[in-house]
């Protein structure tokens, strides 16, 4: 694999917030602040409409103006907090759905499908590749390549990935999540997401392009990228172990039947 060092945005090793704890904390704070503001507004409403009197002096006018400004500020803050809370709730919902689906199945093919669905439907990935190391970690299998035209997959076109994209090569080597910076040399991928089981990197998800209507950068979806890094490999690993065990049990059952038959 290429050893060239590509300038990338390195986003750290294992997730700092794999369970979305910070997100939940932020959401709770937003909701508490929204509730406080909402309560204050309700109390104001309960007092009834303000009695409008002719202001007697410029001082009174100043006081009224100040109160109006404060109310406007509170209202604007409430709207901002509500939008933020809605946004956080959406992010949590995406994280929940992705985690749920990853661990909902013990069929390796279905788990791979789920990884593809997360990339396509939650991240808006147009072209992406799932790369898995073999058992001794020497070769990398292209387990899934999606969105490529025929003959357009470059280093991902064969059944094995031999290296060639600096961002992906570095991530496969050190298990660090990377996002491409502008003008990256020797790197086509926009993001290289490691797939880790405990401290071992067993593969990577390389995202090569996003759908054209996605306007926000991938860094906005750091939560989901972290989730893939932390959960996709373990879900895949569990499914493969289960599948292998199931196959062994069936073989043993066949042997027992044969033995008893004789």
């Amino acid at each position: 694999m290429s050893e060239s060092q590509a300038p990338a945005v390195v986003l750290g090793g294992p997730s700092d917030d794999p369970g979305g704890i910070d997100t939940i904390r932020q959401l709770r704070q937003s909701l508490e602040r929204a509730a406080e503001l909402s309560k204050a507004l309700e109390e104001d409403l309960e007092k009834g409409p303000p009695v409008i009197e002719e202001p007697k002096s410029s001082d009174e006018l100043d006081v009224l103006k100040r109160r109006l400004d404060e109310s406007e500020k509170d209202r604007a803050e409430l709207v901002t907090q509500m939008i933020e809370a809605e946004h956080q709730a959406g992010r949590l919902m995406n994280l929940y759905v992705a985690t749920y689906q990853l661990h909902a199945n013990l069929d390796p093919g279905e788990v791979q499908n789920t990884i593809a669905e997360i990339a396509r439907d939650l991240l808006g990935a147009e072209r992406f590749v799932l790369i898995l190391k073999d058992d001794d970690g020497t070769r990398c299998e292209v387990a899934l390549a999606s969105g490529f035209d025929e003959g357009d997959a470059g280093p991902y076109s064969g059944s094995h990935y031999e290296g060639g994209d600096a961002l992906v090569d570095q991530t496969l080597a050190d298990g660090v999540l990377r996002l491409a910076a502008n003008g990256e040399q020797d790197a086509e991928a926009l993001a290289a997401v490691p797939l880790r089981v405990e401290e071992t990197t067993v593969g990577a998800l390389a995202i090569l392009s996003l759908v054209s209507h996605r306007v926000t950068p991938l860094s906005d979806d750091r939560d989901i990228l972290d989730l893939i890094a932390a959960h996709a490999a373990s879900a895949l690993f569990a499914a493969r172990v289960c599948s292998d065990a199931d196959s062994k049990v069936r073989t043993l059952e066949s042997l027992v039947k044969l033995t008893r038959g004789h």
Binding site: A89, M93, D121, V211
Partner: protein, 134 residues
């Protein structure tokens, strides 16, 4: 808490989901809790389930699906006198202008691109049902 969305007869509005991604089905379950959802995995499955649910108030339709694509399904139901009045909103990763136009020309009432947020879907569902009721 949001109340259930009710139709003119006071029963919960029914939305038919035609989508091959299990992940997206799960998202709809969480996002559209105030509606009765009927889940279908592709166009053919949806044709069968429409027979059992001709009272569907709305169809959310993916385009890229196995067996029968979203556009094939849309063209088929628009020819059917029983189902042609059910409004269809396309929800797809294909977001170019020509994709949107193709869907709308085939009879879709709206178009939402993936990835979507909860408010995008709720807005599309409510606007489309509101327009239908009006």
């Amino acid at each position: 808490m949001e109340g259930a969305a009710l139709d003119a007869q006071g029963s919960q509005n029914k939305v038919l989901i035609v989508e091959d991604s299990k992940l997206v089905h799960r998202m709809y379950d969480l996002m559209l809790t105030q509606y009765t959802l009927v889940h279908c995995t592709d166009g053919l499955d949806a044709m069968q389930k429409l027979g059992d649910h001709p009272d569907a108030d709305l169809i959310l339709l993916d385009l890229n699906m196995p067996r029968m694509s979203g556009l094939e399904f849309l063209k088929t139901i628009k020819k059917d006198p029983v189902f042609s009045q059910i409004p269809v909103v396309i929800v797809s990763t294909e977001g170019k202008e020509e994709d949107t136009n193709r869907g709308l020309e085939a009879g879709a009432a709206g178009y939402v691109t993936k990835p979507f947020q909860r408010e995008d879907i709720l807005e599309a569902v409510q606007n489309t049902m509101g327009a239908q009721a009006g």
